[in-house]
């Protein structure tokens, strides 16, 4: 029972990070029908911005470590990473995807792969390929309850992830921008005929997605303080699976998908089949897609003639 709860908790913490990355995939997909394969690497970029900003902050404000001041510093580092990634997301869309808006969709998929390669190899070129130690922005504490152990990091990850998901949900359903976004997602052409500035909506969607990836990058760096330029590949892939599992284009689906993948991986990792862990997410995904071809929450749309 103890082991079960421990694995469940670990799974939820990992799943929350997958969910944050998956949100970026699902939003971009929902609006453009584009699988943005570079998204996992934007996540890496966020971590690295946090690494440099946090490194600067911890060396220059050494005496503040451990005090209440560490929270605003951590917040500022996260904000900086969000701004940097948002900017990158905007440029990425502007340079690599917008020119292909009217081209076959698969062309933008290849540029997405190109951007992904660019970030990975460029990261190794600029940051160097060796793993870096992510600065300890906030002191770590262990929390024990009923035989299971957790850290304040895992709780921070959960809380921050929930806050950002709530904000996103509010943006999509509670604001005018969100309504425009849903309109663009529903029907691109009609939305633009109705006077919705589709280009701007798409840009902002990319920015939001990249900002969420930056948040995930910082949270990841905090809980797993080893970062390197290729760190985005596997979490990116898992998050992508999570997005598809939940029904790609569907925001709550991405969250649920992320949690499912995180929890299942945690249980497989703790079993004797741990050497199959990387494949298990796909097995689950295929199993679910065979019964629900559009994911858990995806709407089934009969094909129109």
């Amino acid at each position: 029972m103890q082991e079960f709860l421990q694995n469940l908790l670990n799974g939820v913490a990992v799943g929350a990070i997958y969910a944050l990355i998956a949100l970026g995939y699902t939003m971009v997909y929902g609006i453009l029908k584009l699988i943005n394969f570079a998204h996992g690497d934007v996540f890496m970029l966020g971590s690295f911005v946090g690494f440099y900003a946090g490194g600067w902050a911890t060396t220059h404000m050494h005496d503040k470590a451990g005090t209440w001041m560490s929270w605003p510093i951590a917040g500022a580092v996260m904000l900086l990473a969000m701004i940097a990634c948002g900017l990158f997301g905007y440029l990425n869309e502007r340079i690599a995807y917008r020119p292909l808006r009217n081209a076959p969709r698969i062309a933008s998929l290849i540029t997405a792969i190109g951007v992904s390669f660019f970030l990975e190899y460029g990261g190794q070129f600029v940051f160097g390929p060796d793993p870096k130690f992510f600065p300890t922005l906030i002191e770590k504490h262990l929390i024990r309850a009923g035989g299971i152990v957790t850290t304040n990091y895992q709780l921070i990850v959960l809380v921050v992830a929930i806050i950002f998901m709530a904000i996103l949900q509010y943006i999509i359903y509670g604001t005018k921008f969100g309504r425009a976004m849903r309109a663009v997602s529903f029907n691109f052409e009609t939305a633009s005929l109705m006077g919705i500035p589709t280009d701007r909506i798409i840009s902002i969607t990319f920015i939001i997605g990249s900002v969420l990836a930056a948040v995930a990058g910082i949270l990841y760096g905090l809980s797993y303080p080893k970062i390197d330029p290729l760190m985005g590949i596997m979490p990116g892939l898992k998050a992508f699976i999570a997005a598809v599992l939940g029904g790609i284009g569907n925001v709550p689906g991405a969250v649920v998908g992320g949690l499912i993948i995180g929890i299942i991986e945690s249980f497989v990792g703790g079993s004797q089949f741990s050497s199959f862990r990387d494949a298990i997410a796909f097995v689950i995904l295929i199993g679910i897609l065979l019964f629900r071809p559009t994911g858990l929450f995806g709407k089934y749309e009969p094909e129109k003639v």
Binding site: F133, L142, Y220, G269, G270, Q272
Partner: protein, 418 residues
């Protein structure tokens, strides 16, 4: 740097120019022409080291300068370049300078084969240095063997590598050496009989080491009470550790690379596990303690040498490496440094400067004073006669726990089949 920037800008500018002026469809042709042009350009000063002259002895290096194993590849490259520059500064070999041509293999096996083929057939290298990953060395070794070009791998531990032929040499220990000594040390010195095994299923290094540790450990009466695996580059190991924790081992074998070890230790301590981890030479890096910190207290690993060793040969190496690269060298850098110097030493002794003679000279290497120990090339072309040491991490510092004399290390060499 400024020069580089202007070049890049010029390049980018010409790109823009092309898209504006030429028809779009011509860009493809342009790209093809450009890459052809680049391929045809004579390589200028590729080594980044001393200027090349016509009388230079050309040595090839292939390594993972990019890709998942790039961090090891870069260290190796640094070690080789430093060794060669030191040798050249001291007058070179036979009055000639050594020139290193480096090719990247992106940590991919078929690229390693491409790179070595290029070095041998296009650049006519006399000998080849590389790789870290045994799988990449295995891909390149048959090509070196077929072309009769000696190859020295600084840090591929798979015993299979040197069995590829009589032109393939190795500076580091093999999996058999390290695994056997690790198991022996744990049973005989630490008196531990119940251990768990955490394997990295993605790297050949870890799976290879796991097999030999397990074999020796169980033959000495030990028991593997828990097994789990992860994949190199994972970040969450809590579920595997939770599973191992239930089996209450006295210690945990962790034959992985230092890039993962730190994280694993941190998460184990978070889960309340106090068992020490025991690892192999893949742990050797200053990054290990930087990432793992306090979590690694009491952990032990097998090593070729200690960078805190006060002997002058090690001191000089660590000091000059630090002066040059601003970092403490890891195990890969030290092995690469030795590999390059063993090769240079063989070049001095070789009767002629051709493949077979250099091969013979390398094979005759005896008692070479390397940073990682005294290197003698044994009959199966592995380095024998090196001491293996076990180091414990105490207060963030490495302390020597035990030294295993070459006699014991030689046991594995005897059992290695040909």
């Amino acid at each position: 740097m400024a020069q580089t920037c202007t070049r890049v800008r010029m390049c980018a500018h010409s790109f823009g120019l092309v898209t504006d002026v030429m028809k779009r469809n011509h860009l493809i042709l342009f790209a093809a022409a450009l890459s052809l042009l680049l391929a045809g350009c004579p390589p200028k000063n590729e080594s980044g080291g001393a200027a090349a002259g016509p009388g230079d002895i050309v040595i090839g290096e292939y390594g993972s300068l990019t890709g998942p194993q790039a961090t090891f590849g870069q260290s190796t490259h640094n070690g080789i370049m430093m060794a060669v520059d030191q040798i050249n500064a001291a007058g070179g070999v036979r009055g000639r300078k050594i020139k290193i041509l480096t090719e990247d293999d992106q940590s991919k096996q078929e690229d390693a084969a491409n790179a070595v083929t290029k070095l041998i057939s296009q650049n006519n290298v006399l000998a080849v240095l590389g790789e870290v990953g045994s799988s990449n060395s295995l891909a390149a070794a048959p090509i070196c063997q077929a072309n009769k070009v000696p190859m020295i791998t600084p840090s591929s531990t798979n015993p299979e590598v040197t069995r590829k032929g009589d032109y393939i040499f190795r500076i580091c220990f093999t999996d058999d050496d390290v695994g056997e000594n690790m198991a022996r040390y744990v049973v005989e010195q630490l008196h531990v009989k119940r251990a768990a095994m955490l394997t990295d299923v993605k790297t050949d290094y870890s799976t290879g080491l796991t097999a030999t540790i397990e074999k020796t450990f169980t033959s000495l009466g030990g028991q593997i009470v828990g097994r789990a695996s992860y994949a190199n580059g994972d970040s969450d190991f809590r579920s595997q550790l939770t599973a191992i924790k239930q089996n209450k081992p006295e210690l945990i074998f962790l034959p992985g690379y230092y890039t993962d070890v730190g994280q694993i230790a941190i998460q184990a301590r978070d889960l309340g596990m106090t068992q020490p981890f025991v690892g192999g030479d893949g742990w050797v890096s200053p990054k290990l303690v930087e990432i793992g910190g306090k979590a690694l207290e009491g952990c032990i690993y097998a090593n070729h040498y200690s960078y805190a060793d006060p002997t002058p040969v090690v001191r000089n190496f660590v000091q000059s490496y630090h002066d040059r690269y601003g970092a403490v060298p890891d195990g890969m850098a030290a092995l690469a440094f030795d590999a390059a110097r063993v090769l240079a030493d063989a070049l001095k002794r070789a009767k002629k400067l051709d493949g077979p003679s250099v091969r013979e000279a390398i094979a005759e290497t005896k008692g070479f004073p390397g940073v990682t120990g005294t290197i003698t090339i044994g009959p199966d072309r592995n380095a024998v006669g090196k001491k293996m040491i076990f180091e414990e991490i105490k207060n963030g510092q490495l302390t020597l726990k035990a030294t295993i004399e070459p006699k014991t290390a030689g046991v594995a060499v005897k059992t290695a089949p040909h």
